[in-house]
Chain length 277, copies 4
């Protein structure tokens, strides 16, 4: 326990433990209850936008909305109260998300149509990963994040290349199809088509109709085949590097200084000397 915490009242200390730590039973219960509340409130916000449900359950949705907003507001207040450095929490990513997830309901009293912004509550679900911390999930997520971080520069280079490519392809198709196809009526729209095609999404809301257009589109798609392989290759490479590195002892043999011993090695595999474990 830090020196600062020791000066706190027992209530504040207990609250800090429940809200910010997931190791104790109370902490875990709090986290799980909070997650369920967030999940239900997100579902309520979503269902409220469906006309048929709003007509039937409008009052219920409204009540639940205020209920969760009050709950989250209290939780927000308690977090500020029992955090070691309030300003650091308030301006952290989760601090801002927590604030933004309660504001829209209050603003909707003055301005109409802002309730949809409450969907920002969805971001609070990212807290789910705090609970998974206990179940080795975080380390798994860590491998993915590490792989994506390590691929960052390659991905950026790749993205710039893709952006230039779809601009060129889009403009080309605008020149070819623009006259006879209402879908390719401007370059930005043709670029949108190129993105839809190259990523193999292929809505079909815009598609080439002339023979030459379909021919060029076929070439773009086949080229996209090889291009699609690039980000997969990058990320796969990083994940294999991150996950597949066989753990080795960092310690070297005290006699022959050889390194690279397996973690379960007791004797040096090169000179037979016992390792210091």
């Amino acid at each position: 326990m830090s020196k600062e915490l020791a000066n706190w009242s027992p209530l504040r200390r207990k609250l800090h433990e429940i809200i910010f730590e997931a190791e104790t039973t109370e902490g875990r219960v709090f986290d799980i209850v909070l997650l369920i509340a967030i999940l239900v409130s997100v579902i309520v916000v979503m269902l409220e936008t469906v006309d048929s449900y709003r007509l039937q359950y409008g009052t219920l949705f409204n009540t639940l909305e205020w209920f969760f907003t009050v709950i989250f507001a209290i939780e927000y207040g308690l977090r500020i109260y029992c955090v070691t450095k309030p300003s650091k929490y308030i301006f952290s990513f989760f601090g801002l998300v927590d604030l933004l997830s309660i504001l829209p309901t209050f603003i909707s009293l003055v301005l109409a149509g802002t309730q949809s912004l409450m969907i920002i509550r969805g971001l609070r679900l990212l807290r789910v990963f705090r609970i998974f911390k206990l179940a080795h999930f975080l380390s798994q997520g860590q491998i993915i994040i590490t792989a994506l971080k390590a691929s960052r520069e390659k991905i950026v280079v790749f993205m710039i290349f893709i952006l230039i490519l779809v601009s060129i392809f889009g403009s080309l198709m605008y020149l070819i199809e623009g006259q006879s196809n209402s879908g390719f009526d401007s370059i930005p729209r043709s670029v949108y088509w190129a993105v839809v095609t190259l990523t193999t999404v292929g809505y079909g809301d815009i598609s080439p109709v002339t023979s030459i257009g379909q021919f060029i589109a076929s070439l773009i798609m086949i080229a996209g085949y090889a291009i699609l392989a690039v980000p997969t290759g990058i990320v796969t490479g990083e994940i294999i590097k991150g996950a597949g590195v066989k753990k080795k002892l960092t310690e070297s043999c005290p006699h022959c200084m050889a390194e690279g011993h397996d973690v379960d090695a007791i004797y040096c595999k090169y000179c037979g000397e016992q390792l210091n474990q």
Copy 2:
């Protein structure tokens, strides 16, 4: 042969051998005949739902349906009769599937429209892998399953991330396109669109029409490019790890009999004894 089996009548023992073992000729013939019967019965159930076929071959389909149901009911009875522990079989995955694949026909005598449920027979086709056991197929399937199991935690973390992502993207598009596009008339529908887009399925039943919507959609698709690479990377990494395990010496230590030494090891890493190379 277990002690219990020895007390059985020869008929019951023979039946057990034919039905539950695939090593004998009779056992393999039984398995193959059963598989063909399941396959034909599944095709019959499927074709029966096509209007034109039902009108023409309705009576044939009905006869075949009862024929297979009776066959499968007898097989189910025999399985219970000649299994070592009937209750264990009845409540196993295949036991329940076997029961559920004969029930709908009988229930359809009382309630109409339940025949379609017979499609659950399709699950019985999973028995096909029992026969493949003989041809190294199972070990191949095992590698895939092991890889998927090892990726399980990473896949779950990834799925949760995807669910939060499509919620945010869907809500964003609802705010942008909701006014001018009947496809984005509620958040759940917009989330459905986000799933269709991010997985690169791209039906085109819902697609953005405003310039800003198409711009955001393009960004989502390009982001989806990198995201699509993640599960591929995870599974590929596990398959490579499972299949490409680092070569080890086949030789065991002459002193402590430990195995798994690196190919360049000179001394046993567990007891320090020199290896015979």
Copy 3:
């Protein structure tokens, strides 16, 4: 030169060399001219099916068709004449393709509408890989083929699993959407939809319209995400295994018997003894 060849007339020997070998200048010229002829004849067959082109260039197409057919018939005759074992060639894959690529034109004199079958000529283009033999292309193709062959069993297991999966998913969607959506009017059609969805093709000719249908479809798509990764992982694993094995000397050190030396090593990296190279 084999004994049999030695008894042949010089013309027959020369023809054999030109037609079946790609190492001599004449052989390469023959192969390239043949490939161009096949390519042009395939394009002619394709363009002939386009109404506007057939009306305008019908006579030209007809003339070219007979021209190429006669050329290919002569080539077929010469191949039989100068091959060592005619029957082996005639019943080989390429022998049958060669025959089937000239038959339709002759049959069309009697029966109308068989010209389209001439597209089988496209298979003759596979001969292109014979020429590439000279440019290391074949060995590259070999790596792909070896990888696919090594993955064969895994792919078969995977395909059976996919077929069972799309049957179950298709039937499920038939039960859910069948009443309210003309696209899901039979199980075979719903299975077709499941294939279109799971492979992320997503035409959109059939798509769910009910809320529950869209929800289940979303789950199928997200599941398809992980499933899509499996064949990629399998093939990638095999390609890496086939191509990425670092070459090592098979020879061990004469002094310390250490193995695993790089191909350019002159001295043992463990004991400093000179290697026998």
Copy 4:
């Protein structure tokens, strides 16, 4: 500084440094300003094709177009003036792109409708990678390019195979669907459909309607599943080979200065000298 440069006037030398080098502050500022100018001019060309924007901001767009054209013309002149070998620059890839990006505006004075060709300016954005040179981005891009180059032959073999495959599939579907489906009215169009399907783009502008057509299409899609894995496997394999190169000692041999020893090497593998570990 080369001998030739030394004879130049200080102005020309300074210009050379600013325009062709990115290491000095002026050089970097010049590159960044140039990139922004290119980006804005590309956006102007794109937006000009949108009817609503052209009507409203037509004059502004026209003015900006001439402004950027003059700027780029001056830049082009300066590049020729201060390059060591003008002819080499003029006929290089970037030299031709630089020329082609200013010509259309001047040609549009004589011929209408050539402005769209200015989109070729987009290619100038590839200069962005020059700036990234400073931030290790180029080496990352280099890994991708090296991987793609190493996969070149495999990709070509694969592409030829895909082209033959889509020709066969397209012709087959033309024979099956041609009578009853206006989408498959010629082989080239059916081949276009096969490309759209096999690459999993799936617009849905053409889709099979007959039962047998949908059945064959399903088989093509499932086959496409395994095929899609091939380019991914090829590129991933090369990226892993390129990036995951086995770690080597950074230390060189104290005797022969050879580098590239394995991390577990004790003696130099080239001269047998003991390494300093």
